[in-house]
């Protein structure tokens, strides 16, 4: 039975590609026509081709199960998610605006703290921040930029409004899957790429390398850039090696590096020590340098912070950048944008209640069963309360947690995430909830990916998009439909 988009649904909120009347939106029209023209055998064949490509390209992610880690083939849905280039232009501007403001904010926090002195950002919030690193005070890194790579999470609510849900400024991952999804799609659907104006995503690694190279303390030579990974047991190892390879940078582990008596960073090569200029680290602050952060870290490099403070090495993202990756700080981002840039935010925040404010806390406690409650410093969906789905006992526990430590909690309305047509069992196409993670870069200049990584929640009705919990992904097409439509 061929795919019939007129029988698609039920869509409970906003669908990215099919309008409320059941017609494909303009930028998705060609794609939907193509899929409607396929019979079951052809779809089955395309699925096989895509699975084979994923397997032979070795695109995998790691899940931990009963103490051992298993390499699983990456789950990708055949039907891409389509965004119109006109909409994307605005979104990309919004992402760049946001990252620019966040970097001005971080640099201010570690230096003059004017935003606090002017009463815009409360000192208490900073005092309660787990990711503020006093060891970084007084430093201004090159270009004043701390967060060089930002992976924002964008979502759309039932009425179609797009929001920034999170700013991931520590070690955001997923960009390699964005690139590999495209790679697979080009293998499987070459004809679609000939017929539709799909914006390329391939230049990300070139842009990343340029951004990193601009952080080198040595100006006139070709800089030695390395990617610092915790190793193959990290769930994002695939990405670390992928990015190193694509950039032609060395992929190093902590044990491959040392900081010598001269406070420069070196790597251990077959011919002896070689100086390192820029480190793209994929290790959390905590594990970066056992000399100043966690003493028991075997993943980091002793003395790294010393070398960085002296300007002997560039580190991306800079140590301490995570201070702005905090859900309480998140609530202040619109104010931060206004304060530093004197502009209105292009992409809005999800309305957020700060439990540290008496008024907000009263509201949250009274409406707990309608809201999503999040701890301030966790990432990856840990320690979350989904009010509408929670048991009485869970609600009670969270009410207690919030009263005990209000600084640590925020609450947001439960969003009815937008959906996309997704291939489900027995060859049917059904709406599944989706989010989007674009990546934004900043050092000497600003850059944003074309689209990003779309993650879908595969079980019907599910809102959980994480790949470790049954989430899948989609290639994301920014399509130019021409004529500025």
């Amino acid at each position: 039975m061929p795919i019939d988009f007129s029988k698609y649904g039920p869509v409970t909120g906003f669908d990215e590609m099919i309008s409320a009347k059941g017609n494909p939106r303009l930028m998705a029209r060609q794609l939907c026509r193509y899929f409607s023209g396929l019979n079951d055998d052809e779809i089955e064949e395309l699925k096989r081709a895509s699975d084979l490509a994923i397997k032979s390209l070795g695109i995998s992610f790691t899940v931990y199960s009963e103490g051992s880690n298993i390499d699983r083939a990456w789950p990708m849905d055949l039907i891409p998610r389509v965004i119109s280039s006109k909409e994307w232009e605005v979104t990309a501007e919004g992402l760049k605006q946001r990252l620019t403001a966040l970097n001005l904010f971080i640099n201010d926090l570690y230096n003059k703290q004017e935003i606090i002195k002017e009463g815009i950002f409360p000192r208490d919030v900073l005092a309660g921040s787990q990711n503020y690193r006093p060891q970084c005070e007084g430093i201004t890194p090159p270009y004043g930029v701390w967060a060089h790579i930002c992976g924002s999470d964008l979502v759309r609510d039932g009425d179609g409004t797009q929001y920034v849900l999170e700013d991931n400024l520590r070690v955001p991952s997923g960009v390699s899957y964005m690139l590999e999804n495209r790679h697979v799609m080009k293998r499987v659907f070459p004809e679609l790429f000939e017929d539709i104006d799909i914006m390329p995503v391939d230049d990300y690694t070139t842009q990343l390398f340029e951004m990193l190279a601009a952080l080198s303390p040595r100006r006139n030579e070709s800089p030695e850039v390395v990617v610092l990974t915790p190793g193959i047991y990290n769930s994002a190892y695939f990405e670390h090696s992928y990015l190193a390879q694509q950039m032609g940078a060395e992929l190093v582990q902590g044990s491959d590096l040392l900081v010598d008596a001269d406070d420069f960073v070196y790597m251990k090569t077959i011919y002896g020590l070689k100086r390192v200029d820029v480190i793209y680290r994929r290790i959390d602050d905590d594990f970066l340098d056992p000399e100043v952060f966690r003493k028991d870290s075997a993943l980091g490099v002793s003395g790294l912070l010393r070398a960085w403070r002296k300007g002997h090495v560039g580190i991306a993202n800079a140590p301490g950048a995570g201070v702005a990756d905090d859900k309480v700080v998140y609530a202040f981002v619109p104010e931060i944008i206004r304060y530093y840039l004197n502009q209105e935010p292009i992409i809005p925040n999800v309305p957020t209640y700060l439990c540290m404010r008496d008024e907000d806390r009263d509201y949250v406690l009274a409406h707990l069963d309608e809201l999503v409650v999040k701890p301030a410093n966790e990432s990856g969906g840990y320690g979350l309360l989904l009010g509408p789905y929670a048991t009485k006992k869970q609600l009670k526990t969270f009410a207690k947690l919030i009263r005990e430590n209000p600084r640590n909690y925020i609450a947001q309305p439960t969003l009815n995430l937008s959906t996309v047509p997704t291939l489900v069992e027995d060859g049917r196409v059904a709406p599944r909830h989706v989010d989007l993670r674009p990546f934004t870069l900043q050092s000497k200049k600003l850059y944003s990916t074309m689209g990003g990584l779309s993650r879908v929640a595969l079980p019907e009705g599910s809102l959980v998009v994480n790949s470790s919990q049954g989430g899948g992904s989609k290639d994301t097409w920014v399509v130019d439909v021409g004529g500025g439509k």
């Binding site: 032979s56 390879q245 582990q253 090569t269 077959i270």
Partner: protein, 310 residues
Amino acid sequence: MLSRVAENIYWMARYLERAEDTARLIYSTSNLLLDLPRNAEVGWYELIRVFGAETQFKELYPEAEDERTVLKFLISDKANRDCIVNCIRGARENARVTRDIFPFEVWEQINELYYFSTEHAKASLSRRKRHEFLYDFIRSCQTMIGISMGTLPQDEAYQFLRFGRNLERADMSSRIIDVAAAQLLPEEEDINPAFATIRWMGVLRSLSAFQAYRQQGLVGISGSAVLQYLIQSREFPRSMHHCLLDVSICLKSLEKSHKPRRRVNALLKEINAVDIKSLRRSGLHQYIDEFQLGVGHLHDAIADAYFGHH
């Protein structure tokens, strides 16, 4: 190049070669046994001797010497660290930690090899499927070498790949030769074991050397001529001599190589000096023992110079 990466590449190549040579040995033994009468007293257990795995095998299977147990041990037995499936897994793990170094095609091929061997290894225990599995497997290993030679820049990474391959190959060739000689070389002047010719042909085939040997134009197949070819040939890529020659060429293109070079030159000198025609069974065995020890020392010298274990 990072020391750790050089070491990973080296081991990846060694594991791959070990897997391929094991497959070759099983393949040629299967063919040979088909040609021999049932009472020829040549059995599958000989393969356990080739790998020097008698102790481990006896511990695992005290009663068994049969075809199925031996083959399972060599192909897919989780308890055997050096079985084909484990070698490919080891090669893949080493490739995974150096994934950024290799052209994408190399990783793709090793990944396919891994899935192919884990999916088909069990089925290969049946005689009917075995031939096909081994044939495809050996071809895939050769494809892997071809792809890496054709796509990898011939810089340091390439040299460490060649080190690994040639050291392992030299060692495996010497093992195959050692066991063959133990069975086939007469201890006394004139007593030739049964079916000696056809079995020497089997030895040549296990190293893909039969045709090359023939092309030298020698009349007949004699034990000492086969041994001489497999040990001393300068041309044949799986001879002990050729493997080490390749190592010495690699070393010339690296800095800091004087210590391993001294080692490899001494080994080459010994290979050239040994008078194979005059060696009897025990003499050859002793020589090969020393050779394997020498290869071990060569490994140590390379590790000292480049892998940074001090």
